[in-house]
């Protein structure tokens, strides 16, 4: 029941906004997302990680086709739900000091998006998974199109068609798998039982993988990403980078590895190599970026490349690390995009060469930026370190050569992130930054929780690792037959 409520509440919240007016719209949206977060925390308090199906809700939907509305929580799902419900209020709060046209539609879309994202993470039925997967795309389409910046229309179309092409391949694969299940059911347990010939597994694997890879995005399916992130409004970028791309990684772990294990093993080499190319390539491009928001977009590609490689190492550490890094990356990237938003809001530019000396003007801002940045470059005792360390360990167990290349993400990441900090925060103030004001109350309210989470989960990640451990073991039990 609890799981169902987690899905329904944001949706009802989105609908309730239609009777609101003026300022109460964003306040209500914020309150609803906060209540949803409280519910997720509530679910966590009484959570027994070793039980892989908690707060289950199941209701036949289209019984003649074996489709049911079946949702529950396991450790991995809960982690993703925590991430989603933690970030959504912050994303909404980050808009409080900014003006967005047509607030009613804007906040309703954000809450609808939250509903769909939670749905993706908790569903146990492949058909339902597909429905939520697509449903998540519609709000972000409108957010990109209507609140996006320059060239919103062509860029949104590229992004939208790209991801939909992947989704349709996934749909084809899902239907095929469904027809192979003995009892003709979309339930995930039925999918687990399907035994396919290795060649069939391979082409099913690629269909599903491409769908997920586009969302993540893994090189060479990433070409939609930098322009989409850059053009989008800050809340749109935060939703895309913070939560939505995790759908792809989550999909790999829940719907790919256990379903076509042989296909995964057979093609892991290709995937890991693609991911590694992506890491090096994106890091190299990030270093030469002059535009801060673009830099963040490319750094995101590098980070998720490492997560993908970790997942395909099929090791305990790799999958644990992927889970932890999904959380860490989500939190950090939302923080960083908000930093970019604050910079743009005050200086009207993303060009780093026009900034500088902000540290002396805005110490609060500079300090919080530094904490988030250190999390992002995986400094020990921050959340990024936990994830990336485990990931590299996992990849090392898979292949030490690949691990050496993957390690570049940390080194190069430190290079471009620290360079960007130096260019924007240190040195002499410029024309654009000479009147830089420090953070407002609302801005602090966004960045401080993020900084706290970065340090807290970096210092003591054990509860979270324990949370996902049984799910990780379960996933691996399919691979190591």
């Amino acid at each position: 029941m609890m799981t169902l409520l987690l899905i329904v509440l944001p949706l009802l919240g989105a609908l309730s906004l239609f009777v609101m007016k003026g300022d109460s719209i964003k306040k209500t949206a914020f309150a609803i997302s906060l209540v949803t977060f409280a519910m997720a925390i509530g679910a966590w308090i009484n959570f027994d990680a070793s039980n892989l199906s908690q707060y289950a809700f199941k209701q036949d939907w289209i019984p003649s086709l074996g489709i049911s509305f079946s949702v529950n929580l396991d450790g991995l799902s809960l982690l993703m739900v925590l991430l989603t419900t933690f970030l959504t209020p912050l994303i909404i709060l980050s808009t409080f000091d900014r003006e967005y046209k047509n607030p009613l539609a804007f906040y309703a879309l954000i809450l609808t998006m939250e509903m769909a994202l939670i749905g993706v993470f908790v569903t146990q039925d492949a058909f339902l998974f597909y429905i939520f997967w697509e449903l998540a795309l519609i709000p972000i389409y409108f957010i990109s199109l209507l609140w996006g910046g320059e060239n919103a229309r062509p860029i949104t179309f590229k992004f939208f068609l790209y991801t939909l092409a992947g989704s349709l391949l996934m749909l084809f694969a899902i239907i095929y798998l469904y027809l192979q299940t003995p009892e003709h059911s979309f339930a995930i347990e039925a999918f687990h039982k399907v035994i396919l010939a290795p060649e069939t597994q391979s082409w099913i694997f690629w269909m599903l993988f491409i769908a997920f890879a586009i969302k993540i995005p893994v090189f060479p399916f990433h070409t939609w990403q930098p322009s989409t992130y850059h053009m989008n409004s800050t809340p749109g970028t935060m939703l895309l980078s913070g939560i939505m791309l995790k759908m792809g990684i989550f999909g790999l772990m829940r719907w790919l590895l256990p379903v076509v294990p042989q296909g995964c093993i057979d093609n892991a080499d290709y995937v890991v190599i693609l991911a590694t190319i992506g890491i090096v390539y994106a890091s190299a491009i990030a270093i030469v970026q002059k535009d801060f928001k673009k830099l963040l977009a490319y750094s995101s590609i590098a980070h998720v490349g490492l997560i993908t490689a970790g997942v395909f190492s099929f090791t305990d550490n790799g999958l644990r690390g992927a889970s932890m890094q999904m959380l860490a990356h989500g939190v950090n990237v939302v923080g960083l995009f908000f930093v970019a938003d604050i910079l743009f809001n005050r200086t009207k530019t993303f060009e780093m060469k026009d900034m500088g000396g902000i540290r002396s003007k805005a110490p609060w801002f500079a300090t919080l930026f530094l904490i988030i940045l250190l999390g992002s470059v995986a400094l020990p005792l921050t959340n990024g370190f936990v994830g990336e360390f485990l990931l590299l360990l996992g990849v090392y167990e898979y292949s030490n050569v690949i691990a050496a290349f993957c390690g570049l993400t940390i080194i190069l990441g430190a290079v471009y992130m620290l360079m960007s900090y130096q260019k924007t925060m240190l040195g002499e103030t410029s024309a654009a930054t000479k009147d830089f004001t420090d953070l407002t109350f609302n801005e602090k309210a966004v960045l401080i929780p993020i900084a706290i989470v970065i340090i807290a989960t970096g210092l003591y990640p054990k509860p979270l690792i324990d949370l996902v451990e049984p799910s990780v073991q379960y996933i691996l039990s399919f691979i190591n037959i």
């Binding site: 019984p63 003649s64 409108f142 939909l164 084809f172």
Partner: protein, 460 residues
């Protein structure tokens, strides 16, 4: 069965109502009330013991009753949509409704026939009425052109159809579907005469459903005909044609499927590709709907290729979803034309701001056409694809899925236009209009998407 007689009587009644100067303004009420009454009456045919009438000329089995229901309901909606389209003070307005009622009678014959002669009569009753309706805007050059084009090509296709029926008769010695089926299943080597007849029949029917490469008439006829006639063609006529097509092939020719499966698969691919890619280039909303109708025809043909299993219920669901979405789109089109606007897609700019209700409803309709869950359009495509895959048509299904991506592109282009900023200094948008038909269509789309089981379980 009595529905068939009564709809013909209703047509006559409409003609008489139209004759009288005092009664003429009630034409619309009479026809809508009549069709809705028949819609209710039709349900009494469900689960009857004796379904065959007229010496086994028509067979009102579940399939026929279900499709008759859809046809009547959609027809009633089209009639309601015509409220402001005709001038009820003018002589001859009743004729439109009379002729449209005869078209519906033809459509009902097409979904219930159990004899090839009856199929032919149904198609002719429907087509001849439509030729007239297409040209009913007498002073319009385009309308006349549409009627003539439709008539000449339609008559040609009818020739094929009749020729095919004759050859099948020559080979099997019967017009009766059951006897033809028995012949097909009973003999090992079917004569060439039979295959030639089958091929001719197929060509005739493919023309009627506007499948490629027999689709060239559709865009011009759609564009030239009066809006209300086009919406009638796109919904009632198309559903009837597909129901007839499927009925014929599933009862008679299932046993000879290896002979036509490849040809029909090729037609499906061609139709999907041509329909979708041509729609991409359209700037006129009505023409775009014509091409999207062709693309939809490709999907519905896929149900005929699949033939077995749940194909009938998949086709049935698709018909409903398609009719609801098309009618919704035509409701918007009619709103536009009432305001005297051009029917270009650009005239929709700024609708999101000026009339958000219509814009959001239209958006739902377009999402359904594009096949985005959880709308009816998604389930419609899904049911057909999954039936096709289940029957082993993997390649065609994959092409169908990929071409629907092209469809998504042009539908979303319209959505983007709806919510983009209006053109500076122009007042060209429907400001305060609303359309109850559009609301109803959107409700059907959402309801059928949330509870698809209700519909697909009917024909299982």
């Amino acid at each position: 069965m009595n529905v068939l007689i009564l709809i013909s009587c209703l047509g006559l009644l409409s003609l008489f109502v139209g004759l009288s100067d005092s009664l003429r303004r009630y034409s619309l009420q009479v026809i809508v009330a009549g069709v809705l009454a028949l819609f209710v009456l039709n349900f009494f045919n469900w689960n009857q013991e004796n379904t065959r009438y007229y010496h086994d000329m028509v067979n009102f089995d579940h399939y026929a009753v279900a499709f008759t229901g859809v046809i009547l309901f959609v027809a009633a909606l089209v009639f309601m949509l015509s409220k402001d389209q005709f001038n009820f003070d003018e002589k001859g307005t009743g004729d439109y409704y009379g002729i449209m009622a005869f078209t519906v009678a033809g459509a009902i014959m097409m979904v219930s026939y159990s004899n090839l002669a009856m199929l032919f009569i149904g198609i002719e009753a429907l087509s001849v009425s439509l030729y007239t309706l297409a040209g009913s805007k007498k002073t319009s050059h385009e309308s006349n052109e549409a009627a003539l084009k439709y008539f000449i090509l339609g008559a040609f296709a009818t020739g094929f159809l009749l020729f095919g029926i004759t050859m099948i008769y020559g080979a099997t010695g019967s017009f009766n579907l059951a006897e033809i089926a028995a012949y097909v299943n009973g003999s090992k080597d079917l004569p060439y005469l039979f295959y030639a007849g089958l091929l001719m029949l197929m060509v005739g029917l493919l023309f009627k459903v506007s499948a490629a490469p027999f689709h060239f008439w559709a865009p011009d006829v759609y564009e030239g005909s009066p809006n209300i006639v086009t919406s009638f063609m796109a919904t009632v006529v198309k559903i009837a044609a597909f129901a007839a097509f499927y009925r014929l092939f599933s009862t008679c020719f299932g046993g000879a499927s290896e002979q036509w499966e490849m040809i029909l698969s090729a037609v499906v691919v061609l139709t999907l590709v041509i329909g979708n890619f041509s729609a991409l280039a359209q700037s006129n909303l009505k023409r775009l709907l014509a091409y999207s109708g062709i693309a939809n025809a490709g999907f519905m043909l896929l149900a005929i290729v699949a033939l077995k299993g749940d194909a009938a219920s998949a086709l049935f669901y698709y018909s409903i979803a398609y009719a609801a979405a098309s009618l919704g789109a035509f409701a918007v089109l009619i709103l536009l034309s009432e305001e005297g606007q051009t029917l270009s897609i650009d005239s929709l700019r700024g609708l999101g701001k000026k009339n958000p209700v219509v814009a959001v409803l239209f958006c739902i309709v377009l999402l359904s056409m594009a096949g985005i869950p959880p709308t009816a359009g998604f389930f419609a495509k899904y049911f057909i694809i999954s039936t096709a895959i289940a029957n082993g048509h993997l390649a065609v299904s994959l092409i169908a899925i990929l071409t629907s991506l092209v469809g998504i592109y042009y539908y979303f282009k319209i959505i983007a236009t709806l919510f983009s900023a209006p053109v500076e200094g122009s007042e060209n948008t429907i400001a305060e209009k609303k359309s109850y038909i559009l609301i109803l269509c959107a409700v059907i789309i959402i309801a059928a998407g949330i509870l698809p089981e209700l519909i697909i379980s009917l024909l299982r």
